[in-house]
């Protein structure tokens, strides 16, 4: 333990506070309060610092039971163990202390050895639980990060076949997240994505072109225009992506499956219903599939392809807004207009990173 933990001692009698201070002062930092009101103030002034409250019951201004009631209402007793230290011997009153959420009740006169043990045990146990909670959270995050990076690796391997670097995959994640954020900003009453959903959609965005693995090189990397027949084959990368997802054992049980499936299948649908493979229109297309479609079009425009040079950010935005590259949800067009500077900035940084790295 790097820092001493803090115990709050609450008693209106100085002698009682002094005795508890002496008992715990060697191992803990001590805060003192002379009544319930002061105790609540101290708890508020030191959030997360106090590991135990030693609380007298009978006090002026605000008594110990009232303090317990307030802490209980605020839902703080889970985190903050409160011990009643009292001369009380009436069982009904002692019970009331436990019922209000006291961890333990210790009788006056205190016996230092025992009170140190009883309170120390609870603090140690809480420390252990806290450490384990933090470890669990860190491990959960590690697993999620690993998941995401495995998905990115897979997607990058597939993109690699059509001359794409891993950057398209990373930019798809970032652009998708940025557009979702802007959607929430612009239409807060209509769109809300929590942290988990954002992560799942971003992972889905990364996988949008998985199905390209099933498209022959001759079509995928053809420098000229595709024939009608070739284009029909190219279009199947959407449904082939879904086939691939379905072939991954137990992926269906993962919450990312629904988003990934939908995004693979529908990132070439159009707002006007003239997209593929299902010809969905407007609100029939989920908002995340729409967002990924827009991000994909933008990134294709500003990047170089076998069949075209890179367009500038300004040119790409104006082409999309003019309807030269498909039909999109007016709300998304509004978001693009609104956030174009942010997109340009974020993208420029990456371009310079790219030239710096190569």
């Amino acid at each position: 333990m790097t820092e001493r933990q803090t115990i709050l001692i609450v008693d209106d009698e100085e002698i009682n506070r002094a005795i508890l201070s002496i008992t715990f002062g060697e191992d803990f930092a001590i805060l003192e309060a002379a009544n319930g009101r002061e105790a609540l103030d101290a708890i508020e002034a030191h959030p997360g610092e106090i590991v135990a409250v030693l609380l007298d019951v009978v006090m002026p201004v605000m008594d110990g039971f009232q303090v317990l009631e307030v802490l209980g209402e605020r839902g703080m007793l889970e985190q903050l163990p409160v011990f009643l230290i009292t001369a009380e011997s009436d069982q009904a009153r002692l019970r009331r202390g436990y019922d209000l959420g006291a961890v333990d009740i210790i009788e006056k006169p205190i016996v230092p050895y025992f009170i140190r043990r009883r309170i120390g045990n609870v603090i140690q146990l809480n420390n252990l639980v806290r450490t384990q909670d933090q470890m669990l959270a860190a491990q959960a995050k590690e697993i999620l990060d690993l998941n995401s990076s495995i998905l990115e690796t897979l997607a990058t391997a597939i993109e690699f076949r059509d001359q794409e670097s891993g950057e398209h995959v990373r930019r798809m994640r970032q652009l998708t997240l940025l557009l979702l954020e802007v959607l929430m900003e612009r239409y807060p009453e209509k769109y809300f994505f929590d942290e988990e959903e954002l992560r799942l959609i971003a992972d889905g965005a990364v996988m949008h072109d998985l199905g390209k693995i099933a498209i022959p090189d001759s079509i995928l990397n053809k420098p000229g225009r595709l024939t009608a027949e070739e284009f029909e084959i190219m279009k199947t990368h959407t449904t082939q992506g879904c086939v691939l997802l379905d072939s991954v054992p137990r992926l269906r049980e993962n919450p990312v499956y629904g988003y990934a499936y939908d995004i693979c299948r529908h990132h070439h649908e159009r707002w006007d219903g003239r997209g593929y493979p299902d010809g969905l229109k407007a609100g029939e297309i989920t908002i995340w599939a729409q967002v990924v479609a827009l991000a994909d079009v933008y990134d294709a425009l500003v990047g170089e392809r076998v069949y075209k040079k890179a367009f500038s950010h300004e040119k790409a935005v104006s082409m999309i807004l003019n309807g030269e590259c498909g039909a999109f949800n007016p709300e998304l067009m509004d978001c693009l207009t609104y956030a174009q500077e942010r997109i340009r900035q974020e993208f420029r940084v990456q371009k310079s990173e790219r030239s710096g790295a190569s």
Binding site: I15, I22, V58, A87, Y113
Partner: protein, 117 residues
């Protein structure tokens, strides 16, 4: 008077009490000397004289705790008896119980005043 003599005179568990002060005789002495200045006893006497029973209960309860921590066991149990009397509705016992407590209090006060190390 030394602490040992005081302990004998007023039936204090000296070892148990010293333990509450980290074994420091000086600290125990300092707080014993402070005890007669504590306002709780005076407040209790006033409450008894004016018949304010909830105040008797409250102050006696506080005195019970402080006295117990200081090892003044007679004062502690005498105060506890007052709390009990009020709670059980036996208010008529209060003056008698308080007289007994006052005697213990005076004895402790006298012993503490004679205390020196």
């Amino acid at each position: 008077m030394k602490l040992e003599e005081l302990a004998q005179a007023i039936a204090m568990d000296l070892d148990g009490t010293l333990a509450r002060f980290g074994g420091s005789r000086a600290l125990l002495l300092r707080f014993l000397k402070k005890f007669p200045q504590d306002a709780t006893y005076a407040a209790l006497r006033t409450a008894v004289e004016s018949g304010s029973w909830t105040e008797v209960e409250r102050t006696a309860h506080t005195l019970k705790g402080v006295a117990a921590n200081l090892g003044l066991e007679r004062i502690s149990s005498g105060s506890g008896a007052l709390v009990q009397a009020v709670r059980s509705g036996a208010q008529e016992d209060v003056p008698r119980l308080f007289t007994a407590l006052a005697a213990d209090y005076a004895a402790a006060e006298k012993a503490v005043a004679a205390l020196e190390e």
